[in-house]
Amino acid sequence: MTKIKSLDDLRNRKLQLEQSMDIREKSNNPESLVQIKVAMATCGIASGAREVMNALLEKVEKEKVPAVITQTGCMGYCYAEPTVEVKKPGHDPVVFSYVDVKKAGEIVDKYILKNELLDGILPVNYQTI
């Protein structure tokens, strides 16, 4: 184990390690974060949800977006898979359809960061608990 010899060493070590704890820190207060849910049922995975999920993870990490990404089961929109639900704090959830890697990037860049809506939003007419 490398020695920590100064305050700067400790800070650097903490910064390096923060990422591995990030997922746990964020789960501690989900209400204050953007919650992104990727539908990862058979239908979703077959349409490429796994690639979308990976792209979102990378993008969120790169842009340092305060978001927590989880996978969910089938949301019922099997015809429109892969689907991604985004809930920003204080907003109603929005479900995006036919998401691919490119669109995943747009969701982060436009909807999450700039609050611009994109095409392909499914009407949400259910409630989650």
Partner: protein, 595 residues
């Protein structure tokens, strides 16, 4: 980077229910499904919800699986991790609505809690110092070493209003200041991890779940009082806590966070463990110090206080585990933040170990000033089996009972003392209508008699006499003079015993005498135990309408107290009966009644 993490409780309770096997099976299933890159299994400290252990918590959606068995691992991986479907049957069920609770944020058990001392328990892997560092670990120490003089740091602890969490609630900052002002060539920082109260396990859980917080706090204390040596006095019955503390000390040394010139400063600090044999009296600081020196664990008169002359005659600061666990947070978040929580004279939070007849047995951390009602009915989920609440014993053998009339009293150091009890280390044993308070007082006295070190007469002889009186009362042979005598003895012991443990040992008796005098009267005057617990006061009768004369009871009675003709109703001779209850257990027709 992992998409998911599965936190598995590695506390003593959950490990006893095979949580180590769960970790192994989860890892095997992840591998079988090729998900090792996606999800990670982490062993953590105690989640506190011991009632429903073993616990597996899935991050980031906070799914809280309870009573998980090793064979459930495959289903959790295949359903939850792979397909994103929660395994409903393993979710916590709200006892009131019978509904499954999807995540821990919606569980009543956690909603009222503020976790400061337990901040990392059930969150980080206690055997990995990096996870502690990632959560601002050792930043408080670094900040203190870089920016503050010892006196400034002591002032911050004083401002926070932190009081000792191990018993009497002495202000921690003041204790440090006294130790810092006594000059000597060597001083010592001691951590009291000799948790002896029946039913209390918060110190063990902190050491098992977050050992680095104790190391960091002890180093800060060492800097403040001018000590370069830390000692943890821990009972040998806590093997897992010892193991994790040893790992943590080893890792801290490797990182240079213990040893010479910590973080480039002039401050050097190292620590060692000292094992105790688990004597209750060694929780008293002078007895603890004698035990560490290799002498008999017996208390000595104060003054001199350990801050003046402690371990090996040198100035020594002794604090309890939970007290230390609060220290780093006070520096990270500021004393003002800390003192904004709690009541006027009791700041911060307190960890309580809930035990007894309560639905959610476990470890909770709540702000000072919360009411007993909130603890028992909201966090604790109410009394087991829907029975009626009778009392809660706080402070262990040194404390007393709180009853229905105290349900809405805000709980802090001073209100508990005013109610005839004390904070103690934070054990809370809940009792319902079926518990006999005289028998409870007797239980605690038996504990005290067993654990009394025998040095001073009031504690050694006085408690023994009190126990004899209580046994007499429970056997239905007591008289009114005995009650008088009991109270007199208790008051004398309180005034004359040598150490804090002796002085508080009569508290359970005094408190039950005050709050449940009618139960004592029932035992003494009517020779009846209202709760039906005292065996000698139970009387068995055979209902002649139901008895078939099968002779089973008569054949099993150890003293031949039951007589009667075959196929005719039998009778019990009350003169001979020893109230053992064998006939009651043996009867196949429920013909025997207890009064």
């Amino acid at each position: 980077m992992y998409k998911m993490q599965l936190l598995v409780c590695g506390g003593t309770g959950c490990r006893a229910s095979a949580s180590a096997q769960i970790v192994e099976n989860l890892n095997a299933s992840l591998k079988a499904h090729g998900l090792e890159e996606d999800a990670q299994v982490v062993t953590t400290g105690c989640f506190g919800f011991c009632e429903k252990g073993p616990i597996v918590k899935v991050i980031p959606d906070n799914t809280f699986y309870t009573q998980v068995k090793p064979e459930d691992a495959e289903e959790i991986i295949a359903e939850h991790v792979l397909k994103g479907r929660k395994v409903t049957r393993l979710l916590y069920e709200n006892p009131k609505t019978q509904e499954h609770v999807a995540d821990s944020k919606h569980m009543g058990f956690y909603q009222k809690q503020i976790r400061i001392a337990l901040r990392n328990c059930g969150f980080i892997n206690p055997e990995n110092i990096d996870e502690y560092i990632a959560r601002d670990g050792y930043s408080a120490l670094a900040q203190v070493l870089a920016d503050l003089t010892p006196q400034q740091a002591i002032d911050m602890v004083k401002q926070s209003g932190l009081r000792g969490r191990g018993g009497a609630g002495f202000p921690t900052g003041l204790k440090w200041e006294i130790a810092s002002k006594n000059s000597a060539d060597q001083k010592y920082v001691v951590c009291n991890a000799d948790e002896g109260d029946p039913g209390a396990f918060m110190d063990r859980s902190i050491l098992e779940g977050d050992p680095n917080s104790i190391i960091e706090a002890m180093a800060i204390c060492g800097y403040c009082i001018g000590a370069s040596k830390g000692l943890v006095y821990i009972r040998a019955e806590y093997p897992l806590a010892i193991k994790r503390l040893q790992i943590a000390i080893e890792q801290a040394r490797e990182c240079g966070l213990l040893g010479e010139n910590i973080l480039g400063s002039k401050f050097s600090f190292d620590m060692e463990l000292r094992y105790g044999a688990g004597a209750f009296v060694c929780g008293e600081e002078t007895a603890l110090i004698h035990s560490m020196e290799g002498s008999r664990g017996e208390p000595t008169f104060k003054p001199p206080f350990p801050a003046q002359s402690g371990y090996l005659g040198k100035p020594t600061n002794v604090n309890n585990v939970e007290t230390y666990a609060n220290i780093p947070v006070i520096f990270l978040k500021g004393p003002e933040w800390f003192s904004s929580i709690g009541t006027e004279k009791s700041k911060g939070t307190k960890v309580f170990a809930l035990a007894g007849k309560i639905n959610n047995v476990g470890l909770i951390e709540v702000p000072m000033g919360i009411t007993l009602r909130e603890i028992i009915y909201e966090i604790g989920g109410g009394i087991k089996g829907g029975k009626e609440f009778k009392a809660v014993q706080t402070g262990g053998p040194s404390g007393g009972c709180l009853t229905k009339k105290h349900l809405d009293t805000p709980i802090d150091y001073d209100s508990l003392v005013a109610a005839g009890s004390m904070m103690g280390s934070g054990g809370m044993i809940v009792m319902d209508e079926d518990d006999c308070m005289v028998a409870i007082a007797k239980f605690y006295l038996e504990f005290i008699v067993e654990e009394s070190c025998g040095k001073c007469t009031p504690c050694r002889v006085g408690n023994k006499r009190m126990l004899e009186l209580l046994e007499k009362i429970c056997n239905g042979k007591g008289n009114m003079g005995d009650l008088e005598q009991l109270r007199n003895l208790a008051l004398v012991i309180k005034d004359t015993a040598l150490c804090g443990l002796g002085q508080t040992s009569p508290n359970p008796v005094l408190s039950t005498l005050d709050n449940f005098y009618d139960e004592y009267l029932a035992h003494v005057q009517d020779k009846v135990c209202p709760a039906g617990q005292c065996r000698a006061l139970r009387h068995y009768f055979i209902n002649p309408d139901i008895c078939t004369g099968c002779t089973l009871c008569a054949r099993n009675c150890p003293v031949q107290a039951i007589t009667g003709e075959k196929r005719q109703p039998h009778t019990i001779n009350q003169e001979i009966c020893i109230h053992c209850g064998v006939c009651y257990q043996k009867c196949k027709f429920n013909a025997i009644t207890v009064q």
